[in-house]
């Protein structure tokens, strides 16, 4: 038994990545998620419009964090503010009488907090919940879970597909074939992207038909965001594959990138309930922006101009992640720097100049 334990211990010691995951990761996760795991929304972004906006804004409960007071605007502007996710609550005042309180049902935890607070106080107006009137959890979770499914397909399947070539020794074979690195990568990724797109269509259909998730916005805008998001997730998969020798390592790394995305993206815990430092980690994660985009387009019916920020962030993340993954993949595929960037037909011979740098 001791011999077995010693053998296992020695192997574990040499597998530093697993060891780090076993020792450091739980500590890091506990600290980060400890600051993230909260459903309590203390401050709710609020706009107040209408003739008595100034007066009403001053009298609102402390939880309602007034970010804009616009006496010249009316209900239409208030609805647009909620639709565009500028605020979670909009108070519409008139010349006299009770103001209307509109609540964004897509911002589930904020909406629940506000509805509970206002309904419990006599004399305050009854809130009107827009976009998700029943405050259904599924209407909010399903669009975000679509992102999680795409992360699974995009990141894990891609990483495994590329690592399988390395582990089986065929990546070296590809390196000698007359392909450019970008051709190998594009050819390798195209089937995964295709499957992911089919997956996306299926899960949207299931979400809408089975879970009654509303689809109020433009399918084109949603598709644009989903494709951007797919590029990021597939890029992360390629990046993982370039630093993994085995499929086991690739899965470990993929899980390490997925867990923070699931917990810090606002999918489960509201971003505004997280400590600021943890929230900023969330802003660096692609799922955060996909969740905002999917909820915005599907539930609130947000138009293109209202989701420019998530689209822009996904584009930036895609460019960074994909750029890095292509650079690393090219290095893996062509350490000798031949054939990869030049036309494979053009070079009739390759007289290698000596290099001062050693091989990898």
């Amino acid at each position: 038994m001791w011999a077995m334990a010693m053998k296992e211990f020695r192997q574990m010691r040499r597998d530093r990545r697993t060891l780090a995951m076993m020792i450091l990761l739980p500590v890091v996760l506990l600290i980060v998620f400890g600051y993230a795991a909260s459903f309590d929304v203390d401050r709710v972004r609020t706009v107040v419009v209408g003739p008595r906006a100034e007066q009403v804004a001053a009298a609102l409960p402390g939880r309602l964090d007034v970010v804009r007071v616009a006496p010249g605007e009316g209900r239409q502007a208030a609805v647009e503010a909620l639709r565009d996710a500028d605020a979670a609550v909009a108070v519409v005042t008139g010349d006299a009488g009770q103001p209307q309180v509109l609540v964004d049902g897509a911002d589930l935890f904020s909406a629940r907090a506000v509805v509970t607070e206002l309904r419990g106080r006599p004399g305050l107006p009854t809130p009107e919940v827009l976009f998700n009137p029943g405050l259904e959890t599924s209407a909010i979770m399903v669009p975000g879970l679509m992102g999680v499914v795409l992360v699974f397909v995009g990141t894990i399947a891609t990483a495994l597909g590329v690592v399988r070539e390395r582990q089986s020794g065929t990546l070296e074979q590809l390196a000698v074939m007359p392909f450019r690195a970008r051709d190998v990568l594009a050819g390798k990724l195209l089937p995964y992207l295709g499957v992911a797109v089919v997956d996306l269509a299926v899960i949207v259909a299931v979400g809408v038909l089975l879970f009654d998730v509303p689809f109020n916005g433009s399918p084109l805008v949603f598709a644009l965001g989903a494709v951007e998001f797919l590029f990021v997730t597939v890029g992360i998969g390629v990046l993982i594959s370039t630093v993994s020798e085995t499929q086991g390592q690739a899965i470990q790394l993929a899980i390490m990138t997925m867990l923070p995305q699931i917990l810090l993206s606002g999918l489960i815990f509201p971003l505004q309930a997280m400590a600021p430092a943890v929230r900023w980690i969330g802003y660096l994660l692609p799922l955060t922006w996909f969740v905002q985009l999917a909820r915005g387009v599907m539930v609130r019916g947000a138009p293109l101009e209202a989701v420019l920020l998530p689209l822009g962030m996904l584009a930036v993340l895609g460019a960074v992640v994909f750029g890095l993954s292509i650079a690393r993949f090219r290095r893996d595929l062509a350490p000798a720097g031949r054939h990869r960037d030049a036309d494979p037909d053009a070079a009739d011979q390759a007289e290698e100049a000596p290099s001062r740098a050693g091989a990898r």
């Binding site: 074979q173 290099s355 050693g358």
Partner: protein
């Protein structure tokens, strides 16, 4: 397809992996229409030389001369085939990768399947082939486009003797068709079939030339006896002992033998490092 060049190889080649020197000042030529064998033990530098020739390793020193990617064929030390594709699919992929037209592909695939004896297994997954069949498939994939330079990294290691003979017949036929063939092997009886031999040891050239030149360059005398000779370097060969007598004298109980490449390689290593006697 026409073959456009007849001299590939390297001059003064050095390869390093970090601080480890894998190859140092190696010069090697592969001529069109001939098989060149690269031999040596584990860690001798065979794979590094072949990878540098193929372009998957960046030389630290020296020059490498190789054809364009489309005119190069390579069988790595790994499986060299996609185990979850069928024999047919592997060959089609290789042919398309090297730019064969549909007609050329049909013609070459049919010919290669017949030549390698894989026609009956064309629909079988490569992962379900025997070791010898898999190596034949890898070789067929590497020659599908009739390359100018064919590089094979230990294609016969772990393969049964019959399949080894068939593989050598195939690569000799590629050479006969005009390709320059470079094959790394640990089997010195195979190397004797090559036109030229390069013996590597710890990244440096120990012997180079035709098999006859290599044998002729071996000094002293190799003798054989039933018992281990005293006082001179010796090694087991089958049930008997062989020994190298640097001064050319045969110790008592031994008799001179006709030198072969295996003896020449051992003598070269003994001269380099006398402490290596078996």
């Amino acid at each position: 397809m026409s073959r456009s060049h007849d001299g590939w190889g390297c001059r003064g080649l050095g390869v390093r992996y970090g601080a480890t020197v894998a190859l140092e000042d190696v010069t090697f030529e592969a001529r069109a229409g001939a098989v060149a064998a690269v031999v040596g033990g584990d860690g001798a530098g065979k794979t590094s030389l072949l990878r540098a020739l193929a372009g998957t390793v960046r030389p630290a020193a020296g020059t490498v001369r190789r054809p364009a990617a489309r005119r190069l064929g390579y069988v790595s030390a790994g499986p060299g085939v996609w185990t979850d594709l069928t024999v047919d699919e592997n060959l089609s992929f290789a042919g398309r990768a090297y730019g064969l037209t549909a007609d050329e592909l049909d013609r070459r695939v049919g010919w290669l399947l017949e030549r390698t004896g894989l026609a009956q297994a064309r629909d079988r997954l490569a992962g379900r082939l025997s070791g010898g069949m898999r190596q034949k498939l890898a070789l067929a994939m590497a020659v599908a486009h009739e390359p100018d330079l064919l590089i094979l990294d230990e294609p016969t290691t772990g393969v049964d003797p019959v399949s080894r003979a068939e593989l050598w017949r195939l690569l000799a036929s590629s050479a006969a068709d005009g390709a320059a063939v470079v094959v790394a092997t640990t089997y010195l009886d195979e190397a004797e079939r090559a036109a030229t031999v390069l013996l590597l040891d710890r990244g440096r050239t120990l012997l180079a030339g035709t098999p006859d030149e290599v044998l002729a360059a071996t000094p002293g005398l190799v003798v054989e006896g039933a018992a281990r000779p005293e006082g001179i370097p010796s090694w087991r060969r089958g049930a008997r002992w062989r020994a190298w007598s640097p001064d050319g004298s045969a110790p008592p109980g031994t008799s001179p033998v006709t030198l072969d490449l295996e003896d020449a390689a051992i003598v070269a290593q003994l001269r380099e490092d006398p402490g290596r006697a078996a």
